[in-house]
């Protein structure tokens, strides 16, 4: 049951992820990204990580992707490609290299994983308490730094927009 559900989800996930990259229309590409993130949330649910799944939907599909779509629709981008000063070959080469790096890392991770040795999740796994505890103890420094980064990202646009308005 669980395996079957995962296989279906994985197929859909890969399909929609490909659509994000390959679809020429930016709005539909963004819509596919919404679907990808949503499906990813369902994968989290299957893993028992309910908290992460819900946060994924709230933050990504509910807020970030909506803003993406908002901007794309406001700019009224058509099927044309975003103009750039770089030659296309260079861009594709760079993207390919980044992708290969990611794939390599993924293969290493999977190869080193303890496959076949399933461990039962501890009590309360994936709940708010567990997530909060690990966030505020083991990962408190990265957590705070991320907060700082996001704060900069919030203030930055305000400053930029104000300068343009003047």
């Amino acid at each position: 049951m669980g395996t079957f559900a995962f296989l279906v989800l994985a197929a859909l996930l890969i399909g929609s992820a490909l659509a994000v990259v390959l679809h020429p229309n930016p709005v539909k590409s963004a819509m596919a990204l919404v679907a990808t993130l949503f499906l990813l949330a369902i994968v989290f649910v299957l893993l028992g990580a309910h908290m992460i799944a819900v946060l994924q939907i709230i933050v990504y599909t509910g807020a970030i992707m909506v803003l993406f779509l908002f901007v794309i629709m406001l700019l009224n981008l058509g099927d044309e490609e975003v103009p750039t000063e770089w030659p296309r070959v260079v861009l594709r080469g760079l993207a390919g290299m980044a992708g290969a790096l990611m794939a390599l890392q993924l293969v290493r991770l999977v190869a080193g994983a303890p496959l076949g040795r399933m461990v039962d999740a501890p009590e309360g796994y994936g709940g708010a308490l567990m997530v909060a505890r690990s966030l505020f103890t083991d990962y408190v420094l990265p957590f705070e730094l991320t907060g700082l980064l996001l704060l900069v990202a919030v203030i930055g646009p305000v400053v930029l927009a104000q300068r343009r308005g003047r």
């Binding site: 406001l74 700019l75 009224n76 981008l77 044309e80 975003v82 103009p83 750039t84």
Partner: protein
């Protein structure tokens, strides 16, 4: 630019192409008060330009007059401004009387003023009601229309029609007041006057409503005169002019009434809220006028002796009356025959349309609706 649309301007900024949006508002749009069209150029929600396109309701009423004769044209005048048809009736009757030099019986003059003022109230009720509806509050509209229904009942007793009255005749009015009209009219006014305060409590002084109207589309007195705004739109900008008082006609000099003028009570002088409040106050003044008329109306006939074949002497005449939408001009040239040689109607909605392009710059799309409603535009009156 043309009314067919704008040449879309593509701005390239940081490599991204953005363009302004051309919006076609109307001729079928829920809040253009009839078939009126605007071509709006908008940058997101902010309008850079809104150009009115008139002519969708043109029915050649002025030309028809040349074919149907003086008496026969009276029903057509109802259609010039069907929200306030009585003043149009009166304008046509007065211009014909001026051409032929006819004296109207005093009772008929009273009947005319009573009918016109009732009609002014009902027209202003539509204006303030649709204002609320365009801002998004539906309840005030139905409450205003409920009161308008009572006025329609009264006018129906008077002339048998509820919208296009055809009540007046050259030289008087078609029918005398029904026997108990005075009592009914006074009873209605007594009931209606406190309701204005209730209406104000419901919507006029609502915080959200005021926020939507105050400081929107400010028109200075000078601008209003330059653009030839009339009636409540002109008075909303603080210009103290009312045809009924300043170029008196009919029995208005004998009546006691004030001319409400906007004074920027909540925001800037000449904003939408001022124009709106002027209408509310005018309703109250009309109630005063009707009360006086119903109390002082003299006995007598209501129609002067006019030949069936009405042939005014050669010449021309121009009369100005204060319709619900302001100074309405009726001009008629007679060549001595049974048919007018030329008729021209000058209406307030048409000139008000011309200033929309000027005031709508930099407003938001939602404000365009407010502006149109605050001018109390009636599409048939624009085009005739």
């Amino acid at each position: 630019m043309s009314l067919g649309g704008f040449d879309v301007q593509v701005l390239r900024e940081n490599g991204f192409a953005t363009e302004e949006m051309t919006l076609n508002m109307g001729p079928q749009h829920p809040s253009t008060h009839g078939v009126l069209r605007f071509v709006v150029r908008a940058d997101g929600e902010v309008m850079t330009e809104a150009v009115p396109d008139v002519g969708y309701l043109h029915r050649s009423i002025e030309k028809i007059a040349e074919k149907v004769g003086y008496h026969g044209f009276m029903p057509y005048t109802d259609r010039v401004d069907y929200v306030a048809a009585m003043p149009c009736n009166q304008g046509w009757a007065m211009v014909c009387e001026k051409l032929a030099g006819i004296e109207v019986p005093r009772r008929a003059e009273y009947c005319r003023v009573i009918a016109c003022e009732f009609n002014r109230i009902s027209s202003h009720l539509i204006a303030v009601g649709t204002m609320g509806m365009d801002i998004g509050a539906f309840t005030p509209f139905t409450h205003a229309l409920r009161e308008r229904e009572h006025i329609n009942d009264l006018l129906e007793e008077l002339c048998g029609a509820r919208l296009t009255f055809n009540y007046m005749r050259i030289g008087g009015v078609a029918w005398d007041l029904p026997p108990d009209f005075a009592e009914k009219g006074l009873a209605y006014i007594d009931r209606f006057e406190p309701l204005i305060d209730e209406y104000n409590a419901l919507i006029s002084f609502n915080k959200i409503y005021k926020e939507r109207l105050i400081n929107v589309a400010v028109i200075t007195g000078e601008e209003a005169i330059n653009y030839n705004l009339v009636g409540p739109n002109l008075r909303g900008s603080g210009v103290d002019f009312d045809v009924r008082r300043d170029i008196p006609y009919s029995i208005y000099p004998e009546l006691q009434f004030d001319v409400p003028v906007g004074h920027g009570e909540e925001g800037t002088l000449g904003d939408c809220f001022d124009r709106y409040m002027v209408r509310i106050r005018e309703i109250q003044e009309s109630c005063k006028i009707i009360r006086q008329c119903l109390q002082q109306i003299p006995e007598g006939s209501v129609l002067a002796k006019i030949p069936r074949k009405f042939k005014p002497p050669v010449g021309d005449a121009y009369v100005r009356i204060e319709s619900a939408r302001g100074d309405m001009g009726w001009y008629c040239v007679s060549d001595g025959s049974e048919y007018p040689y030329r008729v021209k109607v000058r209406t307030g909605s048409f000139t008000a349309t011309s200033i929309i392009e000027q005031v709508s710059r930099g407003l938001m799309i939602a404000d365009l609706i407010t502006v149109v409603a605050s001018f109390d535009l009636v599409a048939p009156e624009i085009d005739r």
